[in-house]
Amino acid sequence: MLARCLLVGSAILASVLAAAQVLGNPAQAAGVVDIAVLLPLSGPNGTVGEMDVNAMKLAIEDINAAGGIKSLGGATLHPIVADATNDAQGAVTTAERVLSQNKVSAAYGVAISSLTGAALPSFMKHHVPVLTTATADSLVTPTNGGYLFQFPATSNHYAQLEVEFLHYLNDKFHMGISKAVILYVNNPSGFEVQKGIKAVAEKGGLEVVLDSPFKEGITDASPLVSKVQQSGAQVLFPHAMVEDAGLLLTGLRSADSHVLVIGAGGGFIWPPIGKALGENVDGLISAAMWNFDSKPINDDPKLLAVTQRYLKTYGTFMPEQAGETYAGMWILADALEAAASTDPEKVRDALAKINITSGGAMLMGPGGIAFGPNGESLHSTPVIVQWQGGIPRTVYPENLATAKVIKP
C-alpha cells in the first residue's frame, strides 16, 4: 500500500514538475526568445541595475515593435531579469539559477567587473554567451573561452583618455599641471584605471605623487581630502561610485581645494551627483564610456529620439549605463538575427563575427560594433564630459564633442 502511494505520488510530482517546466519556460513557446538579464538590482550598485532595466525596457519595446527577430519569424525578445546582488557569490548563484532553469539564447550582465568575472565560469559551463558593460581589461582574455563580449571600451582605454585630456587642457589653457594623484575604489576596474593612468601619465612626463586605493562605501572623505592636500598635486584622477564621489567632491570644496578633478566612474557622471551638487556640479570633468549628447547621436534623428524618449520617460538625461544597455539589447537582437537560431552556441558564433553599422546598436558610437578575438570591443570610444548647465556635455575628443570645454 505504502509502495503504491509512493509510486502514485512520485508520478503526480513528476507531472507537476514537467508541466511547471514547460509553462515556466517561455522559450518553449513559439515566437519568443529568452535572454537572461543579470544585474545588481539591490545593494550599493542597485542604482546601476535600475538604469539598465529602464533602458532595457525601451530597447525591447523598440526591437519588438520593429518586427522582432525576423530570421526567427518575428520572434520577440523576452528578458528574464534577475538580481545578481552585490557580491560575487550572489552573482554566481543567480547565474546558476537562471541558466539552469531556463533555456536562454544569450545573457546580458553583470555590469560590475568583479561580479561579471565571478559569474563568467557559469556562462562558460552552460555555453551561453554573455554581453557585458563591465570594463575590466582582465575580462577580455583567452580565459573567457570566447563566451564574453565586452562592448564598451576597456578601463585601460578610458584611463588613457583621461591623461590625454589633461595634456589637451595643459596645451589649450597653459595650465602647467605636472603633479597628479590617483585615488580609486578597491575593485578590479579601479585597479585597471589606476594602472592605465599611471602608465600613460609617467610616459607623458606627469609625476604621479600618490596613487592609493580606498574601500568602496566610505563614511567620511576627509582622509582622502587630506591625502590630496598633503601630496601637493595639481590634478586628481579619482575613480569612484556615486556615494564616494559625492563625499569626495564635497570634502574638497569644504577644504577649499583647487585641485583639478578629472573623474572616472559612474559617480561623476550619473544624475544623482548633478542633483546633489546643484549648480556646483558645473565644471566637473569626467571620463565616460558613453554620453547621451555625443555628436553622432545628436546628428542622427533616430538615435536622438531614443535619448529624448528616455528623458521623457524617466525624467533625467540618459545616463552612461542606460545608453550602453539600450545599445546592448540591440546588439543581442542583431546577433540573434544573424544566427537565425536560438541555440546559444550559434548566437555566440554570430557575436564573434558580428559587424554592426546601422540600427539601435549604433547608439554606442560612430564606429559600429565588432569584437576582437577575446571579445574586446574594436570600435567603442570613451569620451570626456564636462558638466555645463546641470548636464554632462561631451567636450572631448573633438570629433565627438558637442560643447567646448570651459577652463576648469
Partner: protein
C-alpha cells in the same frame, strides 16, 4: 603638524557620528541584552524620513535643513515603540536568540522595503551646509560633521543625566543589573524596555537628520555606520552607554590617522585590528571598570 592636527579633527568629527549611532545601540544592549542588527537600517529609515520632510518643506536660510531634526527623532522614537510592542516583545517570549534573529530579518526587510519604495538612487538634498566649513590657521572644520560632533557631546551628557538621575534611568539600571529582582521591587521592566527602544531608535533618528545635509541617503547607507558602531560599543564596553562616545571618537581617530600616516585602504581594516586588540587585552572595554551596568 598641521596634518596631524587636521587628522585628529577629522577623526573627532566622524567619530561623533559613530558615537551617536553607538550610544543607541549600547543602550539597547545594556538594558535589554539585545544586539539590534536592524540599528543601521533604522538609521537609513530615519534618513529617508528626514529627506522626505525636507522635500515637503524646507525654510530658506543656512540652517533651514535642520528643521527636520526634532520631527525625525520623534517619528523614529514612535517607530521604536512600535518595533518593541509589536515585534520584540512577542519574540522575547521565545528567548534572546529569536529576538536577535528578528532584528536581523528586520534589517534585510527594511533594506528591501527602501529599495522597493525609493529605488537604489542616491539622494542628497541640495543645501548650503553641504561643503561649507570653518577655516583657520590652515585647518578645516566641516560644518555638517561639526554639528554632529557637538550633538554627540550633548547627547552623552544628557544620557549620563537620564541614566543616573532620573527615575526611569535608575529603573533601567536596576533592570540591566537583574531583571527578576527589579521586577520584585515593583519596576515595570516592559515599560523600561519600551522607553529604552524608543530612545535608542530616536537617537538614530537624530543622527539621521544630522547626516542628511552632507551624506547621501540610499538603502545600504546604515550598514557601514552600524558596523563601526558595533565595534565602538565593544571597545567602549558593552552596556557602557556614555562610554560609547569615547569608543566612537577612538574609531574615528584611528580611521583618519591610519589613512594619513599608513595607507588609505587600510583605514577601515585598521579599526578591526584595534577592535581585536581590545578584545584580547581588555575584553570588558577600554572605558569600563570591572562589571559595568549602564
Amino acid at each position: 603638524m598641521i596634518i596631524f592636527v587636521q587628522s585628529i579633527i577629522n577623526g573627532i568629527l566622524i567619530g561623533g557620528v559613530y558615537a551617536l549611532v553607538a550610544m543607541g545601540l549600547n543602550l539597547m544592549f545594556g538594558v535589554m541584552k539585545l544586539v539590534n542588527f536592524a540599528h543601521g537600517e533604522f538609521l537609513m529609515t530615519g534618513m529617508y524620513i528626514a529627506v522626505w520632510l525636507t522635500a515637503l518643506w524646507m525654510p530658506s536660510g543656512y540652517w533651514g535643513i535642520y528643521w527636520v531634526t526634532v520631527p525625525t527623532m520623534l517619528a523614529m522614537a514612535v517607530l521604536g515603540c512600535v518595533f518593541y510592542l509589536i515585534l520584540l516583545r512577542r519574540a522575547a517570549r521565545f528567548g534572546a536568540f529569536p529576538q536577535m534573529l528578528l532584528t536581523f530579518g528586520l534589517s534585510i526587510g527594511l533594506q528591501g522595503l527602501a529599495q522597493v519604495l525609493r529605488g537604489s538612487d542616491f539622494v542628497l538634498q541640495r543645501n548650503p551646509v553641504n561643503g561649507s566649513a570653518l577655516r583657520f590657521s590652515g585647518l578645516t572644520i566641516e560644518v555638517g560633521p561639526g554639528i554632529g560632533f557637538l550633538t554627540a557631546l550633548i547627547v552623552a551628557v544628557a544620557m549620563g543625566y537620564v541614566l543616573h538621575s532620573t527615575r526611569w534611568g535608575k529603573s533601567a539600571r536596576a533592570v540591566a543589573e537583574n531583571i527578576e529582582t527589579a521586577e520584585m521591587l515593583g519596576i515595570d521592566a516592559r515599560r523600561v524596555f519600551v522607553v529604552a527602544t524608543a530612545i535608542s531608535v530616536g537617537l538614530v533618528g537624530l543622527t539621521a537628520a544630522l547626516l542628511i545635509p552632507y551624506h547621501y541617503t540610499y538603502p545600504n547607507v546604515g550598514q557601514t555606520f552600524a558596523m563601526v558602531a558595533f565595534l565602538s560599543i565593544v571597545i567602549a564596553g558593552l552596556g557602557n552607554v556614555v562610554g560609547s562616545i569615547f569608543g566612537g571618537l577612538l574609531m574615528g581617530i584611528v580611521q583618519t590617522m591610519t589613512a594619513s600616516y599608513l595607507d588609505l585602504d587600510l583605514s577601515t581594516a585598521f579599526i578591526y585590528v584595534v577592535f581585536l586588540a581590545v578584545l584580547l587585552l581588555r575584553p570588558q572595554g577600554l572605558f569600563t571598570r570591572g562589571r559595568r551596568v549602564l
